[in-house]
């Protein structure tokens, strides 16, 4: 990340911030989509995060931490989106998938469907940790620093997320998405 661009944006240079936006937006959107599992919600989270980052940029002390800082803002924007949409996204019923006699390719698709459904059982906080660690490849200590929580909490969330995924997959395909969970 260009430190000079961050410094100029911090002083109010909108053009510099626009360049930064184009540098980080793909990563931010990818993370938002994987946490929220919905393109519309991910777009909203991205837009809110970018606007908030612009407003708060003068308060950023360590310019070299811009990328981690804006990812943190994005994760919190994802939390907000999940709160906003929680009430009307609790009634989806996952349909069972017939797994007998399927080819490898079909089996992989079935695995993906299983994961998609199982992932919806996770809390938004568990999803965030899971995505930052397994998708962005951040070590747990960096995830903790990014989210502003203890490393032990990150480790707990990851453990319980993995366990929940395993239990949800083992429980079979016909799992109703529980009330109050995300889409």
């Amino acid at each position: 990340m260009d430190r000079d661009l961050v410094e100029r944006a911090r002083k109010g240079d909108r053009a510099a911030f626009a360049v930064l936006v184009h540098q980080v937006s793909d990563s931010l959107y990818s993370v938002a989509y994987r946490i929220l599992r919905d393109t519309g919600l991910a777009e909203d989270a991205l837009q809110n995060a970018l606007v908030l980052a612009w407003r708060r940029l003068p308060k950023l002390r360590d310019l070299d931490r811009f990328e981690a800082w804006i990812h943190r803002i994005l994760v919190h924007a994802c939390y907000d989106e999940s709160q906003r949409t929680r009430s009307w996204r609790g009634s989806i019923i996952a349909l069972p998938i017939e797994l007998e006699g399927v080819t490898d390719e079909t089996s992989q698709v079935a695995d993906r469907d299983e994961l998609e459904r199982a992932f919806r059982w996770l809390t938004i906080e568990q999803r965030a940790v899971f995505v930052l660690h397994h998708y962005l490849g951040l070590p747990l200590v960096e995830v903790a620093e990014l989210l502003g929580i203890p490393a032990g909490t990150v480790r707990s969330r990851l453990h319980y997320a993995t366990r929940s995924l395993r239990l949800a997959i083992e429980a079979g395909a016909a799992i109703p998405v529980s009330e109050g969970r995300l889409a």
Binding site: G12, D26, L46, I149
Partner: protein, 246 residues
Amino acid sequence: MSDDRSIERGARAWLELGPTQAPDHALDAALRTIDVTSQERDLRIPWRFPTMNPLARVAVLITIAIVAVGAGLYLTRPDDSKVGTQASPSPTVDPSISAPARLAPLPDGTYVGRAVKISDIIASINSTSWLSETDKEFLRTAPFAQPDKSTFTAYFVLDRRAYTIGFTVDGVSEVDSTATASFLDEHTLLLQQNYRGGPLQTRVGISVDGTTVSVTLLSHPTPDNLATDRFIGELLYGAGPFTRRP
């Protein structure tokens, strides 16, 4: 796909699927909003006076010191207006009114706890009744509960208001968390973290005895209210007394 490793492998491959480019219309909308949005001003006092020459800087610091001493003398002066107009006050001291707290009872530095045997920690995990079997299963995966390791040492670092707590296992260090520290009084340290837009506050009791410091968790809210977090918190803070290292 049943064990945790294969779940993780499958999940990593699955996470790679899906969009990886932010839609242009979303970026355009954000940038349009930013065009009409002003930034929040940073109102914090700078740590340095970059444009001031050394003499001017000294003058400012002396002025601040004089004003501070003057204000202190003014605020602690005897109240003359009550002389001779009221009965003498009772000689007993109201226990609810304490002397002004001496702030920052701990100097900056690294404070290192006593060495704890890893085998004792594992035994503690196994015998703690308020941990569920799942909690114990999780804690046994932590670095401080590996049977092939021998020694655990907790530490905390105070650097101005920056606070870090962590531990080392056989000399390998891991940061557990960071926070902003302030002393509520000479026996209470308040640690603040920002979490989901609000403060997450932990209060830590401090007892200084010569060169060692004992710390106690007075309140320890955790983001998920997990028993495992409570265990780790008690493990870290219970590994005292702590000794300051230069």
